[in-house]
Amino acid sequence: MSSLFGTFSIALQSLQATQGALSATTDNIANVNTPGFTRRRAVLMEEIPEVQQGITYGRGVRLQGIESVRDEMLDLRLDAEAQDHGAAQAKVDALQPLDASLSDLDNGLTTRLTAFFNSLSTLAAQPTSVPMRQSALTAASNLVTGFNQTSQNVTQMRANLDYQVAQSVADINQRVDEIARLNSEVNRMQSIGGDASAYLDQRTTAIQELSELADVAIVQSDDGLTITTGRGTALVVGGNSYALQSSPDPDGHQRVLSAGTDITSEFAGGKLGAQLSVRDHDMLATLNDLDSVAFAFGNAVNQAHALGFDLNGDAGGQFFTVGSSAAGTAASIGIALTDPRAIAASSNGDAGSNGNLASLGGVEGTALINGQSAGDFLSGICFRVGSAASESQSQLEATESIQAQLESQRAGISGVSLDEEAANLMRFQRAYQAAARVIDTANQMLDLACNLGKE
């Protein structure tokens, strides 16, 4: 507008736009350390110019709005990486103690097994010696104790994971409730035309935390945000949340349910998926393998022992107490002999014969399970668990590295830079000063105009 009053109104609008921009800058500075905060940016637009008598006059600046600078694709990638990270971390936390319990170079099961067979070899040189026989029983005792304790340790670890599974389910429910609440807030804000950035930021953070916990699918549609498990069980639909429950099965292991249906198998990733996987695959397989080898070993020794004769010339009885099936053998295997004289070392009934010790010793090299000797099979268990633990550690390092890069990218787009905000402060301050100066100048000019012709 060509009039002085028009100049006033342009300058005034400029002041307002600058104040609005300053508020965005202030908001950013205040939230520099807020996790998940996306920086705000003032959107300044040129007002539509007007044409008067062939001359186009600009009409100043307008604050169009304040937008938050976010990259939703990046958020989705961060969610996906969070699932991998949550899974890898949980695997490392669960598998490292399992590995430590099984793989002891100095006193593990393979060492004790070798010591047992060596004690029989030593006895073979002095088969009538009661102290040597007692040594053999002691070595056998160490071995069964090793089986019992290792089995108990693994069982205890599974129980710990059960506790953690229940905890993860509670954590998931907490996030799910929060996301549903934030969905409602976002909808409400958007329906009244407001800026839902603050709620969106909190929701993004909550979704990322949820992704660490479980491998969820996130779908944004016109109706709102829907979050489900990988197989489609609803967790969040718009403003509604659907809590999960955890409850123990007949063996005492926590199962995950949604509205009464068991959905435990729907979790393959995230912290919960990893905890379930280690509990139900790695640890269960280890327990079963320990049972299998203890059962096969105990029975093989008992069979060989029955072929021989003890110091009294009686036929060999049971050496180890072994159940009728493999299940639970590692935890329960014990020694049936209490008297060292009852070791059936003799092959011909003479007290001084060591012939049956060769049969007993032969169990060491006999293929007992899957074509493997007991020692090789035990070694195989350690290798499998050790490899899984090592691999999960590598995966954890990889996801941490990728997460760091993605976080860095996100910070680059959405993070607050105090340098940038300081520069903005200066810029808007100057603009405010300049607009104020315009008002002052226009005021002086108006004053002159009003006093034209006055004496």
Partner: protein
């Protein structure tokens, strides 16, 4: 490309990393081991377990070799005493075959011959660590007894134990008493009994005949000593082999598991220095922003 202003999380990550490396280096130095658990090196752990088993087996073989050597040495020295006794018996026999001896003199020789038989009986019933060494697998009771007819009878076993002293090496733990002292080709007790009886009967030709039998027994026992000599030599060689094997296996173990202390110490020093540098660097990184520098 816009860089987000806050470096703190990057710095914290860097410090965590050097801290973890420092801890790992310290653990390796203090334990002296590169591998503690299978996760450290799954294949290496497997190999180490196998090597450890072979080392334990080697130690057991050393122990068994020692035990069998001790038994054989006892047996061999016993047989040496038997040979000495038989030599004396032969002298008696030669002297007693002389037709010019009186009855009383022959009786005296007979008494000595009986005494020799009793000595040899006692030697044949030798024990080592409460085990009769010439009774075969019936080692808990004396293998030779004097029966009602006054003859010495073998009541031990024919079967003799075998003892494993190496991966693929088992040795027979000795000879049974029947083979040594009651063998048809040279029967120690039968010949000594015959000698005593010949003296008692004052029969010089019987004495001569019995003396020839004692000579055969002497030859037989001397031949049998070769078994013990050979076995002891074999066990000695085995001992040497096991000693070398242990050195090799120990080296294998060290190669797999052990950390060189000098390497570990220098790794720790490097890790500590890296950590100190990271922390110092983090402290120096300017946390100033433009805001701090603007005048009011």
């Amino acid at each position: 490309m816009r860089i987000g202003g806050d470096l703190t999380s990057d710095l914290v990550r860097a410090i965590d990393r050097t801290s973890a490396q420092q801890e790992k280096a310290f653990q390796q130095l203090s334990s002296g081991r590169r591998i503690e658990h299978a996760a450290d090196d799954p294949a290496g752990f497997s190999l180490a377990t196998h090597t450890s088993s072979r080392l334990a087996d080697n130690d057991e073989f050393v122990s068994s070799t020692g035990t069998v050597q001790a038994v054989m040495q006892t047996a061999d020295s016993t047989l040496s005493s038997v040979v000495t006794a038989l030599t004396r018996a032969v002298s008696l026999g030669v002297e007693g075959a002389n037709g010019s001896l009186s009855d009383a003199q022959r009786q005296a020789l007979g008494a000595e011959a009986l005494g020799i038989r009793d000595t040899v009986l006692s030697l044949a019933n030798s024990s080592f660590n409460n085990t009769y060494i010439f009774g075969g697998t019936k080692s808990t009771s004396a293998p030779f007894v004097v029966d009602v007819t006054g003859n010495v009878a073998y009541v031990g076993a024919d079967e003799v134990n075998r003892v494993r002293v190496g991966e693929a090496l088992s040795v027979q733990a000795g000879e049974n008493g029947a083979e040594l002292f009651a063998d048809p080709t040279g029967n120690v007790f039968a010949s000594l009994t015959a000698l005593y009886q010949a003296f008692t009967a004052n029969d010089p030709s019987a004495v001569a005949s019995a003396t020839a039998q004692v000579r055969q027994a002497f030859d037989h026992v001397s031949t049998k000593r070769v078994f013990y000599g050979n076995s002891m030599q074999l066990l000695e060689q085995n001992s040497t082999f096991l000693g070398n094997n242990k050195v090799e296996l120990s080296q294998e173990w060290d190669n797999l598991v052990a950390v060189d202390p000098n390497d570990a110490a220098s790794q720790l020093v490097n890790a500590q220095q890296a950590h100190d540098r990271t922390i110092a660097g983090a402290a120096k990184v300017s946390q100033l922003s433009l805001l701090d520098l603007l005048n009011g």
